[in-house]
Symmetry: C2
Subunit: 313 residues, 2 copies
């Protein structure tokens, strides 16, 4: 029995790519089925899910129509919407799958805010594309002027709004999450990396930004002193020399070794790199025997038993 | 010190009518300020908020644009979105206002499902209007055919989709809510009356319906054995002979007396009647000394001290 933070990648809800609620809820059920063996082992589990496709769709709907009476909601509010929706899908799916296995456990979704630094360099260099594509640069610049946000060309596919992706500092609801774990609940929290907020010492204020979900999962795992951070994604583990004849999957590795590979640019930014960085961040702060595991969703059970994925110690 | 379920009406977030996130968050701050004196008294507090205007706006956005890639979400998912968004606004506002008063307390939003009966008569008579107005009956009927839902004319303002409003049976997350209260948290739960789900004995499945928020607040208050149900709205209390020269505000009343007034059609359906029915439902099940209070948001502190509003025993 250990305390585990599980970070679920986008494939946990959209493996087949279907974006309807029914399709995503069916995926959530399949994901829940993969998690039941872990739940049965009696671990204290927090699930941190991504929200990229879902908050993207919410934004597209919000941007599709706006008036004084029915205004478009800002990104922090959309983030909170996605936490509610995905949390609902996951808690229901996990509850249903546990029930099929005769397990009774309370599953709870905690709407989570994550403090970021107002002077995070990300705020002066917004880089994460969100929302609809604009027809051309002129349309994008007009939207940027009107709505006070930044726009950039997105990989030759057109112009889009870009938002900052600051580093997570503190999980506002961490004490509640820890308390729920201690009381035997399975907790879904920090969805989509959390709703980013700035703390000016007087109060919290939401900001239009996105926080990397794996980084927030690592920050949560650190702050609640989890033994394990399990990052589940679409690949079996961390590979080096990717796409070359000597491509190798790492089975066990260390923070030092991974730092060397990062210096060699072995990991794709926006893909494996943030997962490796999150793992390093979590393991490196360890006083005891922490480990991070990067594995596929289908290999979750093997991974938690040390029989699959890439283990970082 | 007592356990109190507070049902917040629509005016808690839209008193001035502004629908932007900034306007609603400012209203949430004003509402939080009204709640701080109650929090200071040390009660165990659950806040149940409405979501009518907010889920309405989410639906308008969802309906404004739909494709295979970015499909419109069904009402249960939209409900969960609204719980995330409004919960975020309220938890942040309450946290900020408490901090200004030097109070430290964990505030947590629990995404909540509420079981309804599949054979509730509401399912054969959908009556609650939601979503956009259609141009005319023909457009409404075409949408109804395509999307498999019911439409009706809405008070001469045009045709709209109508959904069932079944009675709440069980609050799925009630044990978690109670545990959080016992641990000293202020809990925001059952937002918008909860996400309606049907339990077929095997699993929970969301349904496109809406549950009356006051009815769900009463069901929660009953199931966690609260001492008090405090329904905060835009009027000072319950009035009889409304609009006539002998209009009177009830200060203290009983279940029996209120039933008599209901038989006289003293209370407006969709307005005061559901609040009176929720209060009756809660108080009538009492074994001990329960009370329900219907009061204005501004009169919350006076009401909880027995100095305002309508007290039902």
């Amino acid at each position: 029995m250990s305390r585990v933070v599980i970070a679920l990648g986008g494939n946990a809800l959209q493996r087949q790519g279907g974006a309807s609620a029914a399709a995503q809820q069916a995926e959530a059920a399949a994901t829940a089925r993969q998690l039941v063996p872990l739940i049965k082992q009696g671990h204290q589990i927090v699930i941190v899910h991504g929200n990229g496709p879902q908050v993207g769709d919410i934004l597209l709907h919000e941007e599709a129509f706006s008036s004084d009476e029915v205004p478009t909601m800002p990104l922090d509010s959309c983030d909170a919407m996605s936490q509610g929706m995905i949390g609902y899908w996951l808690q229901q799916a996990i509850d249903n799958e546990m029930r099929a296995d005769g397990i009774r456990l309370q599953v709870v979704t905690v709407v989570t805010q994550v403090v970021v630094n107002a002077d995070d360099p990300a705020f002066s260099d917004p880089s994460k594309p969100v929302g609809p594509f604009y027809r051309d640069e002129a349309e994008a610049r007009a939207a940027a002027e009107k709505r006070h946000f930044a726009v950039k060309p997105d990989a030759n596919r057109g112009w889009r709004r870009v938002v900052p992706s600051p580093k997570p500092q503190t999980i506002v609801e961490k004490d509640t999450i820890e308390q729920l774990l201690n009381n035997g609940c399975l907790v879904i929290a920090v969805g989509g990396g959390g709703v980013p907020v700035i703390d000016d010492g007087q109060k919290l204020t939401g900001v239009e930004a996105v926080i990397d979900k794996d980084a927030s999962a690592a920050a949560l795992a650190d702050s609640i002193n989890a033994e394990q951070l399990l990052i589940l994604t679409s690949v079996d583990g961390v590979r080096i020399h990717f796409g070359s004849p000597n491509e190798t999957e790492l089975r066990e590795t260390s923070v030092e070794e991974l730092r060397g590979y990062i210096d060699q640019n072995q990991f794709a930014p926006g893909s494996m790199l943030p997962k490796v960085l999150a793992s390093i961040g979590f393991v490196d702060k360890a006083r005891g025997s922490r480990q991070a595991v990067i594995a596929s969703l289908d290999g979750a059970e093997a991974a938690i038993n040390g029989q699959g994925g890439t283990v970082i110690r």
